[in-house]
């Protein structure tokens, strides 16, 4: 039995105290293995985003534990935590979070800049990532001049640029029309298949979820169902 790359053990998360206390997660356990594509499916308010934040080490659970490659991720603090997040994860958000005024290349190399990679090296890697997403010719364009699909491809290039082991995609096609959305989906699953990057998709879109190896359904802070039906 291989060690899961990411595991949640009876994770709870609550906000507030006393009567106003709200339990976003009420005890969630799951294991995600290297190279898998997993969809966390649920309606808004189900706790799926909270679960993603906990798995991405952006937040700390109120109870339970998170394991990254078998070791307790909650022991990571400060600089170590930041470095781990920078090296291990890539993020694709529904809103693109691109800096409009800066060039596409500048946006893409942001994770490398944060990691402290040298100027020449990060430009080279940034161009390589853009080439992978067929955006190389847009490298010097302003990010605000891109179309929606190009923006999301730039975002994927950014998520990819530091060779992460896991990509978190939060409603990656939510802001795109279905044709562009399909292209973006193809790119994400292509990365998962060809490069073995673990893909964790948070969505309420059943079609997108259906393309994943495994679906974890969440309602009211609990896993209600999980299935590993092979995608059609």
């Amino acid at each position: 039995m291989p060690v899961p790359i990411l595991a949640a053990r009876d994770v709870t998360k609550s906000y507030g105290r006393g009567p106003g206390r709200f339990d976003a997660l009420k005890g969630v356990s799951l294991e995600i293995y290297e190279g898998e594509s997993v969809a966390i499916v649920g309606k808004s308010g189900s706790g799926k985003s909270t679960l993603m934040h906990l798995l991405a080490l952006l937040d700390r659970p109120s109870g339970g534990s998170i394991e990254l490659s078998g070791s307790d991720a909650l022991l990571l603090t400060g600089r170590t935590l930041n470095v781990t997040r920078n090296r291990t994860f890539g993020f694709v958000f529904q809103q693109f979070f691109l800096t409009g005024g800066a060039s596409v290349l500048e946006n893409v190399i942001l994770p490398l800049k944060i990691a402290g990679v040298g100027v020449r090296d990060r430009k080279r890697r940034g161009r390589a990532a853009l080439a992978q997403l067929e955006l190389e010719d847009k490298a010097t364009n302003k990010a605000s001049d891109l179309s929606g699909g190009q923006k999301q491809r730039a975002v994927i290039a950014r998520a990819l640029v530091n060779d992460p082991r896991i990509i978190f995609a939060d409603e990656p096609t939510g802001n795109l029309d279905s044709a562009t959305g399909a292209v973006v989906e193809d790119i994400l699953f292509g990365l998962n298949r060809d490069k073995g990057i673990t893909l964790i998709v948070v969505t309420h879109d059943a079609d997108l979820a259906a393309r994943c190896d495994r679906r974890i359904y969440i309602r009211d802070g609990l896993i209600v169902d999980s299935e590993s039906a092979v995608a059609a």
């Binding site: 937040d59 993020f91 994770p111 800049k113």
Partner: protein, 429 residues
């Protein structure tokens, strides 16, 4: 993130909202400009005083007077035959005269190298050949004095020749063609002795002095040989004790003496019943006044800078607000709070640097132009005066101080940015 990247990104960010940055920079510019000008004013005037100090007296000389025994009592004072009309104080004020025994007492004090009583001379006129007589206000040269000369040489304290340095204004009056032509001219100096008998003393002009703070009026300075000769001539008819009375004396001390050694010497003089003042003491009051004025002007400039610093706070708070998502994203990607703080506080420092460097630069241009124009017109009577002077040290200090103020102003928004929770920031609409 590397520090160089933090700095680079901060600079890029400050240019992202050009109008806002420009307005903030202008606010700082005004403060820095004012501060540079007022500081330059202080530097210029104090520089001038410092160069002029040498013309007023030597650095290693104390002017010693005797402390009056009844200085504190009010009302009519008892008659004291040793009181002399003071040459330094207000008209009508008197000083206790120094007698030869005082001179030997002072000479015996530790730290005193030599004592020269100041001979108070009162010549009547100066004349070239049989030309027009001009009233003369002359004083003996203090050893080590450095007059500001337009031509010629300093009066010699060792030469036995009678030498005189006259103010530039005498050159034309005495019928001499130019400053340099006046050097070497023989002049006659008229004196009246105690018996009201007039006589003349011959002297050679060795130098022509420029007008300066130390010698603004039409004055002449005599060397020690001439001073002694004039004193002897005017004292004809006085008995020994009436003659050897001096209003003050110049005490020379080691020129390498430290300020504390000078203070100790002054203390010893005070204990012995005398009062000693260095040139720095005499000029000190003057400088204190100028420093106080400059301080007040600087305070106004600092107030302008404080107002500008709130502009920085405002600019950066807006910037933090605008970039909430970007900050959240960077933090999600593993950027530490410290670096986020650095990003925004360096942006503040950079804005401060821009404002202060431009402000100081333009102030230097304007100040140099203005003081050049003024010294050619309003202040032409004070050669050597640069009204607004700039020292690299004080310019650097101003820029650093403004950058420090900007940093302090930036800490509030920067701390706000650094504290931001990535999840909340990414959710922020």
């Amino acid at each position: 993130m590397r520090t160089i990247d933090v700095i680079g990104t901060a600079i890029e960010n400050s240019f992202r909202s050009k109008l806002r940055t420009t307005l903030t920079v202008i606010a700082i510019f005004i403060g820095a400009f004012t501060l540079t000008i007022t500081n330059g004013l202080g530097t210029g005037i104090n520089d001038y005083i410092n160069t002029t100090v040498a013309a007023i007296g030597a650095q290693d000389v104390l002017t010693v007077t005797k402390v009056g025994t009844d200085a504190t009592t009010s009302g009519p004072k008892k008659y004291n035959p040793d009181l002399l009309a003071s040459s330094a104080g207000r008209p009508g004020s008197t000083v206790q005269a120094l007698t030869p025994s005082d001179i030997s007492t002072i000479t015996a004090l530790k730290g005193v190298k030599s004592v020269q009583p100041t001979l108070s001379i009162s010549p009547n006129y100066i004349q070239v050949g049989s030309g027009t007589k001009y009233a003369l206000n002359a004083s003996g040269a203090v050893p080590g004095i450095k007059l500001q000369l337009a031509a010629g040489a300093q009066p010699s304290s060792t030469s036995s020749e009678s030498q005189i340095v006259v103010a530039k204004s005498y050159v034309k009056a005495l019928g001499l063609s130019s400053n340099s032509a006046a050097i070497g001219t023989m002049v006659k100096i008229g004196v009246t002795d105690a018996a009201q008998k007039s006589s003349t003393v011959d002297a050679t002009i060795v130098g022509i002095s420029d007008a300066s703070l130390g010698a603004v009026a039409d004055v002449a300075t005599t060397n020690s040989a001439l001073t002694q000769k004039l004193f002897d001539t005017q004292s004809v008819g006085l008995t020994g004790s009436a003659k050897d009375r001096y209003s003050q004396a110049s005490v020379r001390f080691d020129s390498a003496a430290t300020p504390s050694e000078v203070t100790q010497l002054k203390d010893r003089l005070t204990k012995a019943g005398y009062e000693g003042q260095t040139v720095a003491d005499q000029i000190g009051t003057f400088k204190t006044v100028i420093d106080a004025i400059v301080l007040v002007l600087n305070a106004f400039a600092v107030i302008a800078l404080l107002a500008a610093s709130f502009g920085i706070v405002n600019t950066l708070l807006m910037s933090v607000q605008e970039r909430t998502k970007e900050i959240g994203l960077m933090k999600a990607m593993g950027m530490g709070g410290g670096k986020v703080f650095g990003l925004f506080s360096f942006e503040a420092v950079f804005i401060g640097f821009l404002g202060s460097a431009i402000g100081a630069g333009i102030a230097i241009l304007v100040g140099t132009g203005v003081s050049a124009a003024l010294s050619g017109s309003v202040f032409s009577a004070l050669p050597g005066l640069t009204l607004i002077a700039f020292s690299p040290g004080s310019i650097a200090t101003i820029i650093l101080v403004v950058m420090a103020i900007a940093f302090v102003a930036g800490t509030l928004p920067a701390a706000k940015a650094a504290r931001q929770d990535p999840i909340d920031s990414l959710r922020y609409e």
